[in-house]
């Protein structure tokens, strides 16, 4: 799970700025850039969160009282 989400995070994290730079350079159309961002920005957000979330293997922090 974590390996896959990490790979997805890196991939989408690269695609988002890459599409913006390519569109700025004129290599791809603006509409392609938007399509890339619409698809990969949410995936980047979710996969980033999934990568750094607490491990599923151990218990959550126990409540130790105030």
């Amino acid at each position: 799970m974590t390996g896959k989400t990490k790979a997805l995070m890196v991939l989408s994290g690269l695609i988002c700025p890459a599409s913006a730079i390519l569109a700025a350079a004129g290599a791809i159309d603006a509409i392609v850039m938007v399509a890339a961002l619409v698809i990969f920005f949410p995936l980047f957000v979710i996969s980033t969160f999934l990568t750094w979330k607490a491990s599923d293997h151990e218990g959550d922090y126990p409540f130790i009282g105030y």
């Binding site: 619409v38 979330k53 491990s55």
Partner: protein, 285 residues
């Protein structure tokens, strides 16, 4: 083009910050100390660090996909707004937001989520025609492209001051109001049904939702300012958005949450007012 990516990050940042300011202002009006203004960042980060899984009862793929779609549609909405695309597309994106709200509640299998989803449909009955009345702006500007509308405003002054466009501004204001947190029309996440359609989306999913909602708040506030005041430089846009948000904070702080059918009735009355006004204005002019 790189500016769009920066705008996107700015939208997340400003959206979360404005949510925090909104909470703070509501608290101060109600003479509570309130959370710090960056509370919503902490909130989102806190959720993102939590243990996360998909509930057994949920519709497995849908449960996750709906969060992704929620962020995706508002990324598209931001682009439409920034490039001065069609107001109709913005309307479509608002409506798609209603559908994702519905899906958010339905996908979890929880009765609370389900009731939130049902209420989302009930409120769609009035919110969607309400947004449709904003389309009557076409009568004034002769175009629904946001770039044409801002060009019209640059030539003829803000639409907010125009007598004909005023009801559309009110309709749009109510639309934005019914999408900020703690608003009187927010029946879908009322506390009597726990958190409504967001109930079962915990941890990472909730953090993703907060991100999407931040972009949504940014887009809707910016759309209101752009449509009815005009195209402003960024710093002025942010100030205008904040002022609009502050007026909404006052409304949210001072009004109780309406019951589902009252919320629909009040919005329907506003629709009726706008339609009558548009018909009369159309006959006279």
């Amino acid at each position: 083009m790189i500016s769009f990516l920066l705008y996107l990050l700015l939208a997340v940042f400003i959206g979360l910050l404005y949510h925090g300011i909104h909470r703070k202002v509501i608290a101060r009006i109600q003479t509570r100390p309130g959370p710090p203004v960056w509370q919503e960042f902490l909130h989102t980060l806190k959720f993102s660090f939590k243990q996360t899984w998909i509930p057994m009862t949920a519709s497995q793929l849908m449960f996750v996909a709906i969060v992704v779609i929620m962020i995706a549609i508002w990324v598209g909405g931001l682009y439409v707004l920034l490039t001065g695309g069609s107001l109709l597309i913005l309307f479509a994106i608002f409506l798609l937001h209603k559908i994702t709200e519905h899906g958010l509640g339905l996908s979890s299998g929880s009765p609370y989520g389900k009731f939130g989803a049902i209420r989302s449909v009930i409120s769609a009955a009035s919110e969607i025609p309400l947004f449709a009345t904003v389309g009557a702006i076409y009568m004034v500007t002769g175009s629904l492209m946001i770039s044409d509308i801002t060009a019209y405003e640059a030539a003829n002054g803000p639409l907010l001051l125009s007598v004909i466009a005023l009801p559309m501004a009110i309709a749009m204001y109510v639309i934005v109001l019914s999408k900020v947190p703690y608003n009187p029309f927010g029946i879908i996440e009322a506390k009597e049904i726990v958190s409504g359609n967001k109930t079962e989306h915990f941890g990472v999913w909730r953090a993703g939702l907060e991100t999407g909602f931040a972009i949504k708040t940014f887009v809707l506030l910016a759309a209101f300012v752009t449509l009815f005041i005009g195209a402003l430089p960024l710093w002025l846009l942010l100030i205008a958005m904040l002022i609009v948000l502050l007026t909404m904070s006052f409304i949210c702080a001072l009004t109780p949450m309406l019951s589902p059918y009252d919320a629909v009735t009040i919005q329907a009355l506003i629709i009726g007012f706008v339609v009558v006004y548009v018909v009369i204005a159309g006959v006279i002019l």
